[in-house]
């Protein structure tokens, strides 16, 4: 038995090394390197594209990003079912799955990856490290801090995309226009680099805006949102949430705590207002997706992603959504002046 086992093991190892040696050179070239610097034919000709799409979790903003991307690509000649096949895989918050999915895209030799949100983008960049598969990221707040690119103007690798960067002082000012806040609470996942950046900005901007203290409550998964929110009760005047994927995917729990305790809740993405936030001055994530689609079309037509600058959204693109019914449930009234400037009033 011992001899058998050792022999089997040696055979496996040898077979493996031989297999790798014989085919090793081949496999690296075959499916993993996609030449993006050669100009390819017009998209309406027969070339079939496979595009991998992944987002860290399901929530309306990220879904809108994806839809905008698909619609824009269709407008530019890359139509699903005709010359494009989408591989849409969602790890629902599981980071190991995100890495596995990224690896799958690489081994399937996709032509382009759209990664929505910071954690999935990080996983995709790691998986494509030694390949030439281009990545377009969407809804990544700070791609430089996340390690995706080294510079906004010259990303310099195979990664570029559109950021949902927000100027935090503008965000907080919006909340201050609705009610005075001296103590503000913020719920976020310290493991998302996008949130860490935003909270740091909040803490720097708070004194100038007249906010005395910023109380933080962190979560690790969306299941922790309720407990963390409750830890803030009684210590703050209002709660603010940035573009944190974990908290936004567990948003309803936060809304419940705020309604039960009459704490106004302000968000940074407009879809959250429908889910119960008082107000949000947010981006139209569909437009973020449209810009991603533009970049992707350029790459598929042969441009080098290293030379395509990563973009932020125009701050004039911000839309103010308000929810007076939610405000009432949380114990405040939205001033008429704010209602007049609102892009959309939701009464839910």
């Amino acid at each position: 038995m011992k001899k058998l086992a050792i022999t089997m093991f040696i055979v496996l190892v040898i077979g493996f090394v031989l297999g790798l040696g014989l085919t090793g050179c081949g496999s690296n070239n075959e499916e993993e390197t996609i030449p993006t610097t050669q100009p390819t034919a017009q998209p309406t000709q027969a070339k079939q594209y496979t595009i991998g799409i992944t987002q860290i979790v399901t929530h309306p903003a990220l879904d809108a990003n994806k839809q905008g991307f698909k619609d824009e690509l269709a407008k530019l000649g890359f139509v699903e079912g005709q010359n494009v096949k989408y591989l849409d895989k969602n790890p629902e918050g599981d980071m190991s799955l995100a890495a596995t999915i990224a690896q799958q895209f690489v081994s399937q030799g996709v032509d382009l990856i759209l990664s929505i949100a910071t954690p999935t983008s990080q996983a995709c960049v790691a998986a494509t490290k030694s390949t030439h598969i281009p990545i377009v990221f969407g809804s990544v707040t700070d791609p430089v801090a996340a390690g995706l690119i080294t510079s906004w103007d010259h990303p310099g690798g195979n990664v570029t995309g559109v950021s949902d960067w927000l100027e935090i002082p503008t965000q907080i000012q919006m909340a201050l226009n609705i009610m005075p806040i001296k103590k503000i609470g913020v719920v976020y996942n310290a493991g998302e680099t996008n949130s860490v950046t935003q909270v740091a900005q909040l803490k720097t901007a708070a004194p100038a805006l007249g906010i005395g203290s910023v109380v933080e409550a962190t979560v690790a998964t969306s299941a922790d949102v309720m407990t963390s929110a409750q830890s803030l009760v009684g210590r703050i005047d209002a709660i603010w949430v940035g573009t944190d994927n974990t908290v936004v995917s567990g948003f309803e729990a936060l809304v419940k705590v705020c309604e039960d305790n009459h704490i106004p809740l302000f968000a940074s993405d407009t879809a959250s207002v429908e889910r119960g936030a008082v107000a949000a001055l947010g981006l139209d994530y569909y437009q973020v997706g449209v810009k991603c689609g533009d970049i992707a079309a350029k790459i598929l037509n042969g441009e080098n992603p290293a030379n395509i600058p990563a973009e932020k959204m125009n701050l004039t693109d911000l839309q103010l959504y308000v929810n007076p019914t939610a405000a009432q449930r949380m114990g405040i009234t939205i001033p008429q002046t704010v209602l007049d400037t609102a892009y959309k009033i939701i009464n839910k």
């Binding site: 038995m1 011992k2 058998l4 086992a5 050792i6 089997m8 093991f9 496996l12 190892v13 493996f16 790798l20 085919t23 090793g24 496999s27 690296n28 075959e30 499916e31 993993e32 895989k89 969602n90 790890p91 629902e92 918050g93 599981d94 980071m95 190991s96 799955l97 890495a99 596995t100 999915i101 690896q103 799958q104 690489v106 081994s107 399937q108 030799g109 954690p119 990080q122 996983a123 960049v125 790691a126 998986a127 490290k129 030694s130 390949t131 996340a146 390690g147 995706l148 996942n189 310290a190 493991g191 998302e192 680099t193 860490v196 962190t218 690790a220 998964t221």
Partner: protein, 327 residues
């Protein structure tokens, strides 16, 4: 007669496995196979660790869910601090050894049941991992990892690099374990799982062997965690969730595929089981209507099939006598 039929059964299974591999090669290409090889090797370490406690020690150690990310966390934090990645990986193993130590002590000295000890360590490690990571996630994208070092020396990159690096680690682990489990201490460890009272009556201290076995097992799992974290470019507090289920599934599948007589075959069985499991998972992910979230159900189904197979064989052959009919 039983032996021959057993052999036929095994050969059929191996042929089926070979057929599956050929099918995979034809339909999906080499890269799916390579990805499964890499995962089979690195999660094979987890399988070996689970086997050590679950079968060898007969101690159901559930702390694996916490030790796997512990290895990843310690390794990631140390690499970001500037440590040599090899030293950081060894530090991760050390952390795993400590975690196993605690599980073993809880069981032997404080007399908690093995199951409970493992669960408590797993739960406690979640908080410890969060503290170590300083958040939920530490990125390793721009850091120098073991894979980068090996890649520079050997001039490899991509999946080939991952496989070769992990293969080297697995071979080293295989050699060490193969030697260790035949030493006096290793034999005492194996005997403890078999018949603890007998071992104690012969004068050996089973507390020591249980603690040692737990430590070794968790050390291996932490090693796997460190390797996975370095390869995937980040260490995350949730990366161990479901690891024990996967470990048990792979051990059971491996036992079904390869006769586990003798240490060397046992280790091979663990690796083979993990490879088969990851292969099936990767195939499932390629099917369009299967979502990543469905994988846990698929795992459970696989384990049920493998566990039920021997019984079904018995029933088919008419060898199963239901208790009531026993004369």
């Amino acid at each position: 007669m039983g032996q021959n039929q057993g052999l036929l059964y095994r050969i059929t299974l191996l042929l089926l496995a070979a057929g599956l591999i050929v099918l995979v090669l034809v339909v999906w290409g080499r890269s799916l196979l390579y990805a499964s090889c890499y995962e089979g090797l690195v999660f094979g370490l987890v399988a070996i660790g689970v086997y050590l406690t679950f079968r060898v020690l007969a101690f159901p150690d559930l702390s694996v869910d916490g030790t796997f990310p512990l290895g990843g966390a310690v390794c990631a934090v140390k690499i970001v601090d500037g440590w040599n990645p090899f030293v950081a990986t060894l530090a991760a193993v050390g952390a795993g050894l400590c975690a196993g130590l605690i599980t073993g002590i809880l069981n032997t000295k404080l007399r908690l049941s093995g199951l409970l000890a493992g669960i408590l360590v797993m739960v406690g490690l979640y908080s410890i991992n969060l503290r170590i990571l300083g958040g939920a996630n530490v990125p390793l994208l721009r850091q120098r990892t073991i894979f980068d070092v090996v890649g520079d020396h050997l001039g490899l990159s991509g999946m080939t690099l991952s496989i070769v690096t992990v293969l080297v680690v697995v071979v080293i682990v295989f050699i060490i374990l193969n030697w260790f489990l035949r030493t006096d201490l290793g034999l005492a460890l194996r005997a403890t799982g078999d018949n603890e009272q007998m071992v104690r009556s012969l004068g050996s201290d089973t507390s020591k062997t249980v603690i040692l076995g737990c430590a070794l097992s968790n050390g291996l799992v932490a090693l796997a965690g460190a390797l996975v974290a370095q390869n995937q470019g980040f260490s995350d507090v949730g990366m161990g969730i479901g690891m024990i289920v996967m470990g048990l599934a792979t051990v059971i599948i491996g036992e079904g595929l390869i006769p586990t007589r003798g240490i060397a075959l046992i280790l091979v069985a663990c690796l083979a089981g993990t490879f088969a499991y990851r292969l099936l998972i990767n195939i499932a992910l390629r099917i369009d209507w299967v979502r990543p979230g469905d994988l846990k159900l698929i795992t459970a189904g696989l384990v049920i099939v493998v566990l039920a197979l021997p019984h079904i064989r018995k029933m088919i052959r008419g060898e199963w006598i239901p208790p009531a009919k026993r004369v």
